[in-house]
Symmetry: C2
Subunit: 337 residues, 2 copies
DNA sequence: AATCATTCGGAAAAGCTTTTCCGATTCACG
DNA sequence: CGTGAATCGGAAAAGCTTTTCCGAATGATT
């Protein structure tokens, strides 16, 4: 350690000296081990406090063979999905005395590999991969051995990998059932690109909720408001119009609502609209505000934290779990009183 | 180290044994030090590769007194501003052999304090604070001593703190000058809450660009599309309407554009509109697409990385620097041919 | 006075890596 | 043959912390 360069200029040896005890006694006092008088412990604690002593985690980790650190690797360059997940993770890991550090690979495999390398060098106790789409991703280009690894809002090509995801299909069922409960009988589904697994699952949830599916009411396009506008225009041009639209995400839903407004269609009176993601930037700015499905990403993060802790403690975890989503009704489906 | 638990099951001692050399020789070979025959070095490198050896960063950092790690502490729970900054930082720090790890405090001072504590325990070589608004923030509740600390897109109550920020005022000048260059003569400014420093600076840039300022053309409100809509409605109700509107951010601008459309005002023909932030979620979805001012956050991150490296190497850095923004013209100000 | 219990000191060892230093060996050259 | 250079081994030390073990000192009890 270069002295005077960092806030941690004092070692345990300094604390011991300051407290007038031996090095071993100082350690025992701070770690509540050994048989020391309370007076001796207090003396050491006071000395440590006065010196602003902070144990050197590096030395501790080296000695105990565990760093109590977890790395989170994300390829979500916008942070939209990762941040709530991280928040939930951090809460749970912190309660277990584990620090969480994130690296953002920005969808660059080389960068990701490098991050893994760095985290392994730091001897993290586990790794979590997450991103901005839940489809399978390539196995990392480094052997991870028995290190606990968990995919959250993400999956792996590796068979048996432990994965935790929102229940897209269930969420879509919620949305469709909500529209049905409102008496809607002709529900369209405007969604994203077919190569997203989430798109397929949401579509499956929609289809499973209907007694009869009309393929002409299912439209795929890009994740954008513009696509929502175009799709709505197409639906309006049909001989028989839908009386509700379940959009694959909130951006598409926003576009749909805008096109309906442009065409003097009243939402939800004439056509109800519900999105997916519960992205407040979209739901709140839309006119009327969007009903949506929340993926509960923070809860997903909490569940992931608990799961990883179990893995770190030696339990075996594998396979994919899906956590339920939540319906968030707003004025785009529920008329305001 | 608990064996078989992690990918790093081999120590340098194992590599030496595998290569049939001494521990010291193995170290010298991997670190390109000492006087070894190339043949000996190659033998050690091969052994290390075969065993998948990765040096223990903890032991290295302990020995050399430097961790080559930097902590990034953000209070931006959405990641919108932090992610591009992080990307720029990571690029520059990586080139200098330094790892970057992020903790997200989600605007909770207790959580932030805890993160600082964790990072200090890991003996980071420097700390970077960033967030979602650039105003002064309280001094962290922990003494950081001489540890290099840099505020990026953020400022500190601590006098002389090193800060790096986008040039809000300059960006506002760019936006206003752009409108002037298009022949606009009556430019309004619809912006965010007065308690944001960025709001005050952007207003100052706007005012400085005009030979004559009409206070009635400056409206403050919340950061939302709804406020943009309301403000536009107010401006349209004025005896003399503006022929251009400079919005404090893209969300407000989006709202303005929508209200103009609702009132059959053609953008940019009748009234040109420019935003700030260049947030693609807004700029691209708007009709027409929004001209905006980009804060160059990735570049800010790169500059911050370079600055922090200098600080880590012992140079003194203090005070606030501002990096220029970039004008991004789109159809909301420039008519499409 | 002797014995036992409590408390602490301090030495040693371990974790892993780097670096230095000294000694030993081998080979080449004068 | 003697000397010097190149090469490597291996021991030691350092970084910081934790833990164990044994010995020493003190106070209380018999």
């Amino acid at each position: 350690m270069s002295q005077g360069k960092s806030p941690n200029r004092y070692t345990l040896r300094d604390v011991a000296r300051h407290a007038g005890v031996s090095l071993g006694t100082a350690s025992k006092a701070l770690n509540k081990s050994g048989t020391l008088r309370q007076e001796t412990r207090d003396k050491v604690l006071k000395a440590a406090d006065e010196l602003g002593f902070r144990p050197n985690d590096l030395a501790q980790a080296l000695h105990r063979g565990q760093s109590f650190t977890v790395g989170l690797i994300s390829n979500d360059s916008f942070g939209r999905f990762t941040m709530p997940i991280m928040e939930g993770l951090e809460t749970v890991l912190h309660a277990a005395g584990i620090a969480l550090f994130m690296c953002n690979a920005t969808d660059d495999p080389e960068r990701e590999k490098r991050h893994i390398d760095q985290l392994l060098g730091k001897r993290v106790d586990g790794l979590i991969f997450t991103g901005r789409r839940a489809d399978r991703r390539p196995v990392p280009g480094l052997a991870l051995g028995n290190l606990p690894v968990l995919y959250v809002f993400s999956q792996s090509d590796e068979p048996g990998a432990a994965c935790l995801l929102p229940d897209d299909e269930g969420g879509a069922r919620l949305a469709t059932a909500h529209l049905l409960s409102l008496g809607r009988t002709r529900i369209a589904h405007v969604t994203g690109p077919e190569d997203f697994e989430a798109v397929r699952l949401r579509r499956r949830g929609y289809e499973a909720s209907l007694s009869k599916v009309d393929p002409a009411l299912i439209l795929h396009g890009p994740w954008s408001e513009a696509w929502g506008r175009e799709a709505a225009t197409r639906l309006l041009a049909m001989p028989v119009r839908p009386d509700a639209i379940f959009a694959g995400n909130d951006q598409i839903a926003r576009g749909i609502v805008e096109a309906l407004r442009d065409n003097a269609i009243s939402v939800p009176r004439d056509i109800a609209v519900i999105g997916f993601d519960n992205w407040s930037v979209m739901t709140e700015a839309s006119r009327p505000q969007l009903s949506s499905v929340d993926m509960n990403l923070k809860l997903l993060g909490e569940e992931a934290g608990q799961r990883l802790i179990r893995m770190i403690r030696g339990e075996r975890e594998s396979g994919t779990s899906r956590l339920p989503c939540t319906l968030v009704p707003r004025a785009s489906t529920v008329p305001t009183p």
